[in-house]
């Protein structure tokens, strides 16, 4: 068997290991899905009326506006879970066993990433389902849906590799739960919940240049037909860059330990 076949085989073994673990202890997954749903309901029903008026519409205008931000926040919340999972896993003896076996080195990490990505995409599907039920009305064609799904998947892959690297860097699982925290706030400090031009200058500058904003703008454009401009290219570049750097960082950290 070639090195690549072996790496693929070991990685899929590790993905199965991780999925089994996630299924056996579903409380984490459930919590990761419920959190963004609660935020969605909170923003739509508590703040949605007022914020919608500010956008020149009502509650329904706001549902359409906020969903992309909620989706990214869901991914960021899940990243926290992934970092904790990885940090916890690294304290387990089984990892030492893996290191003494002739298996593809990165496969343990790939297992975490793929399983988390699956978990998160399911979570996003739930959020979209609930959003549709309470009045989210996208006007996307199937191709646009596909493009949005593609970009979100790329984003989830990137943020998950980042979470894995942060988890590996953390000395304890507790520390790992704090490291990705800032990511959860990035949708707020971007165009996730209110348009950036309503913000004071310094904040607006940050909001327009941070990676989450072009991603949210692109998803919004694909699903709701708002202008996309060069956001799609910038978003793709950010995601690819974060994924690549985090992958290398994670791999290096794992090999060094």
């Amino acid at each position: 068997m070639s090195a690549l076949t072996l790496a693929t085989r070991d990685s899929s073994t590790m993905v199965r290991r991780q999925l089994k673990r996630l299924l056996r202890y579903p409380s984490m997954t459930v919590q990761l899905i419920i959190t963004p749903v609660i935020i969605l309901l909170l923003f739509v029903y508590v703040f949605g009326g007022t914020l919608g008026t500010g956008l020149g519409g009502g509650r329904h205008t706001y549902i359409n506006y906020v969903v992309p931000g909620i989706l990214l926040m869901a991914a960021a919340t899940a990243a926290t879970g992934t970092a904790v999972m990885v940090a916890t896993d690294m304290t387990e003896g089984i990892i030492a066993r893996f290191r003494t076996m002739r298996i593809s080195r990165a496969s343990v990490l790939t297992g975490h990433v793929v399983a988390s990505v699956i978990q998160q995409l399911l979570g996003m599907a739930v959020v979209i389902g609930i959003a549709l039920a309470i009045g989210f009305r996208p006007n996307a064609t199937p191709v646009e849906w596909l493009a949005a799904a593609g970009l979100l998947t790329l984003f989830v892959v990137a943020i998950t590799w980042l979470a894995v690297a942060l988890g590996l860097k953390s000395p304890t699982p507790e520390a790992a739960s704090n490291a990705p925290m800032p990511l959860v706030f990035l949708p707020f400090l971007g165009s996730g919940f209110v348009p950036t031009d309503s913000m004071p200058t310094v904040l607006r500058w940050f909001a327009e240049y941070q990676p989450f904003t072009p991603i949210m703008q692109t998803v919004r454009g694909l699903l709701l037909g708002t202008p996309i401009g060069d956001n799609a290219a910038i978003a793709t570049a950010w995601c690819t860059g974060i994924a690549a750097v985090s992958y290398l960082w994670a791999k290096k950290t794992y090999n060094k330990a």
């Binding site: 085989r9 070991d10 199965r16 089994k20 673990r21 056996r24 003896g93 066993r97 076996m101």
Partner: protein
Amino acid sequence: MTNLAIAANGLRKSYRDKDGDKVVLDGIDLAVPEGTIFSLLGPNGAGKTTTVQILSTLIRADGGQVQVAGYDLNRQADDVRGAIGVTGQYSAVDKLLTGEENLLLMADLKHLPKREGKQKAKELLEQFDLVDAAGKPAATYSGGMQRRLDLAMTLVGDPRLIFLDEPTTGLDPRSRRAMWGIVRDLVKNGVTIFLTTQYLEEADELADRIALLDHGRLIAEGTAEELKRLIPGGHVLLKFADPSRLDAARPILGVGTPDHDALTLQVPSDGSVRAIRELLTLLDERSIDVAEMSVHTPDLDDVFLTLTGQQTDQNKEALR
């Protein structure tokens, strides 16, 4: 000449901490022939686990030439990994998975065909008395059960060289004997075992060769018999009712160290029945009564305590 499963020369390792470099392994030489059991014996902190971790590619040595299973430890680490199985000192099972899932995970990682993997898992569950617990998460296992699962996982894929770091620590006497039986069976099939232990009895029972590790140095090496010969031999301790009997006995026997306070005479002896009978007959003929008698044959404990004791004394000497 038989092939060596492990050949190490001048193995060194130190850890850096607050007060400078702490030398953990200070030039270790090892030669373990294939198909034998080699036991590394040493007190807490001697460097046993560190040795196992280096030989099993988990950490890198600072210096030394090492070949494991015929491969260079540094340049061919992956080939070494393909040939060995490791049961570390601390549990290395996936606690969230069941016993069976753990074994199947190993089978997949060893790239066994599905059917073969299932078969192997089944056999091992039976061999290690884990059939009833097979479907329960390993987190619910007792310490001894986890230990057994740990070793069973190591055996998936039939490694030719197995490292066992204190495999029976924490096991009850019955489980310990069962573990010994398993180790013996493995060696019968040509597997090489590198075993660390704090139990001298265990080394004595199992090992073909024993090395004593203390403060990062090998202070003695050989078969159990050879090691026992290293220290003052066995003796018979005779206790007398009064000093006059003790004084009378000494010239008759011709040898022995008297202790006038304890009223004892320590006579060198191999402890055999014949030697003791001769000794007692000699005293009987002169009507010298012996109040009490005890036979002392040297065991590895004596070797261990004597040799590791010397080492600490020397260190103290060096400190002065």
